[in-house]
């Protein structure tokens, strides 16, 4: 049973525009969330995280928003760059400290 869902398998955005990647979760016990970026043939790289005590966390071009009541989070990338093209995974920290991952969204930023 998929507890972290990324319903858009792919997204295409023009360079300079905003990329918005969405993630939904079903388990209300989750209280810490992370976004990872993955290039082909490489391991995932940590991008940004958010605790449930916050509704927003910003790091440079990356901002994560958390809506606890809707069990929804989103990653905003502004402005998008061609080097941002990768697969983005949303993950929730389980009580046992493992990460529960979504299936990923493949982002393509076109020049």
């Amino acid at each position: 049973d998929q507890q972290v869902k990324q319903n858009s398998p792919s997204l295409s955005v023009q360079e300079g525009r905003i990329s918005i990647l969405n993630c939904d979760y079903t388990n209300s016990m989750f209280d810490y969330f992370l976004w990872y970026k993955k290039y082909p043939a490489e391991g995932p790289t940590f991008l940004i995280s958010i605790s449930s005590i916050k509704d927003k966390n910003e790091d440079g071009r990356f901002t994560v928003f958390l809506n606890k009541s809707a069990k929804h989070l989103s990653l905003h990338i502004v402005p998008s760059q061609p080097g941002d093209s990768a697969v983005y995974f949303c993950a929730a920290l389980t009580p046992g400290y493992a990460l529960n991952f979504g299936k990923g969204t493949s982002l393509l930023v076109t020049p």
Partner: protein, 116 residues
């Protein structure tokens, strides 16, 4: 410093054979995780080691899978009597859990396992 390393990077094996995958975590990281990513899927948790505590094996898909972590550092994931559905990229991650609310896990490049 050095990141998480894994070996081999690629492994092709025949159905029914045993395989061993190795992970060297970041020095000083007390927590080590194994995940796998099958084609078109997200990362699936397998097992978690934290210090000297008993490992969390709740994600292992069958008793053909086992893992060890010797001396609190290097870990080996063993798959016995491999099946074609075991084909996946096996990823290792480590983290420090050292103070604060930092739970980021740092991943190695993975081992691509193909069972023929």
């Amino acid at each position: 410093g050095a990141g998480v390393s894994q070996s081999p990077s690629n492994k092709v094996t025949e159905k029914g054979k045993d395989v061993e995958l190795r992970c060297d975590p970041i020095s000083g990281h007390t927590a080590l995780y194994w995940y796998r990513q099958s084609l078109g899927q997200g990362l699936e948790f397998l097992i978690y080691f934290q210090g000297n505590s008993a490992p969390d094996k709740s994600g292992l898909p069958s008793d053909r899978f086992s893992a060890e972590r010797t001396g609190g550092s290097v870990s080996t994931l063993t798959i016995q009597r491999t099946q074609q559905e075991d084909s996946a990229v096996y990823l290792c991650a480590s983290s420090s859990h050292a103070g604060g609310m930092t739970y980021e896990q740092y991943f190695g490049p993975g081992t691509r396992l193909t069972v023929t």
